[in-house]
Assembly symmetry: C2
Homo-oligomer: 197 residues x 2
């Protein structure tokens, strides 16, 4: 191997790790398996990642960066909180549903240990929840949605629904598309936010 564009290997390692970890789980995947699939030597992994766990973290961060980038881009143009929330729901299901291997990792493998989940939750997912809560608060402020429940609470509830749909899809063997549930979820969520009678 001469001196090929550095950075290609890092991507190759992350791609290989996604496939292997989705198939065998984090603990069932050895560093050697990832190296083999990526077409690099075991040691090469350690030129790009300081340890096995960092591969998993990088995987998640790469995915989350794409997610938030696309989210920010798409939401910018939308006029009201209703349109934005609907788009958030659609995007969530669309992006998680786009790559089953990655979905297995985000919905199952990443929920490893308290310490791990705690850290992820606090950082990236926390920001996502806050963004959702802001949209909901806006809808509350203009009288569109119920105000008897806290926007942060409502955001968590909506996230819970989305997350459960995603996990259910990952675990279901049938060959459905996650996106197909978007209408039902939108119906549920908008229903739940209507002002109380």
């Amino acid at each position: 191997m001469p001196r090929p564009a550095t950075g290609r290997k890092k991507e190759a390692i992350l791609d290989a790790a996604t496939v292997e970890i989705a198939a065998h789980g984090y603990h069932g995947t050895t560093v050697a398996m990832i190296a083999r699939r990526a077409g690099v030597a075991d040691g090469t992994i350690y030129l790009y990642f300081s340890n096995k766990e960092e591969i998993l973290i990088s995987l998640f961060e790469r995915a989350m960066d794409l997610f938030t980038a696309q989210g920010a881009r798409e939401l910018a143009g939308l006029p009201g909180p209703r349109e934005r929330l609907v788009r958030i729901v659609e995007l969530h299901l669309e992006l998680v549903g786009a790559d089953r291997d990655l979905a297995i990792i985000t919905q199952v493998e990443l929920r490893h240990s308290l310490h791990f989940l705690d850290q992820l939750s606090r950082d990236r997912v926390g920001a996502y929840l806050q963004a959702m809560a802001a949209v909901i608060a806006e809808g509350q402020a203009c009288g569109l949605w119920r105000c008897d429940l806290d926007a942060t609470f409502l955001a968590k509830a909506v996230f819970g629904v989305l997350d459960e749909m995603a996990t259910d899809w990952v675990l279901s063997r049938r060959n459905t598309r996650l996106q197909a549930r978007a209408d039902a979820v939108v119906g549920f969520v908008l229903g739940s936010l209507r002002p109380q009678a």
Copy 2:
């Protein structure tokens, strides 16, 4: 120690495993750690469980049996679907919130591998979801709740909300009680089920 009441040790091992796994995670807990806390020898564990994973499974099944037993008992006396669903929400939060160590295991540690989660999901959690869907379908049948969404879907959505609240509580460091969120969750869930305007 030769022949003391058999069965006590099994419980002791499960209790010890709950504490250790909650503190260090499943993979961070060694069989020796569980044995030490339970006050038995390493080998004794294998008189009661065929391997380490079976300890985790037994743990979950013991908890789930208590859960469904109490659920069945409490729901029997309630007149309508509304009362039953409210009680399901309250019980879910009450029982998960009653033991933080156990909650760490059900909300975090058990979600380890696809294979594992898949199996649990299909069996015990599947039965729980079906019971909830039955209550919702009943409410739909008597015109109490919206009929434009499938009862099975609605049950999953409600479960998602409950599960997210539980996970959020487990990860939050503040010393709140999970039960304290019951009113908000009930408000959200009943709101989401109202018939569409």
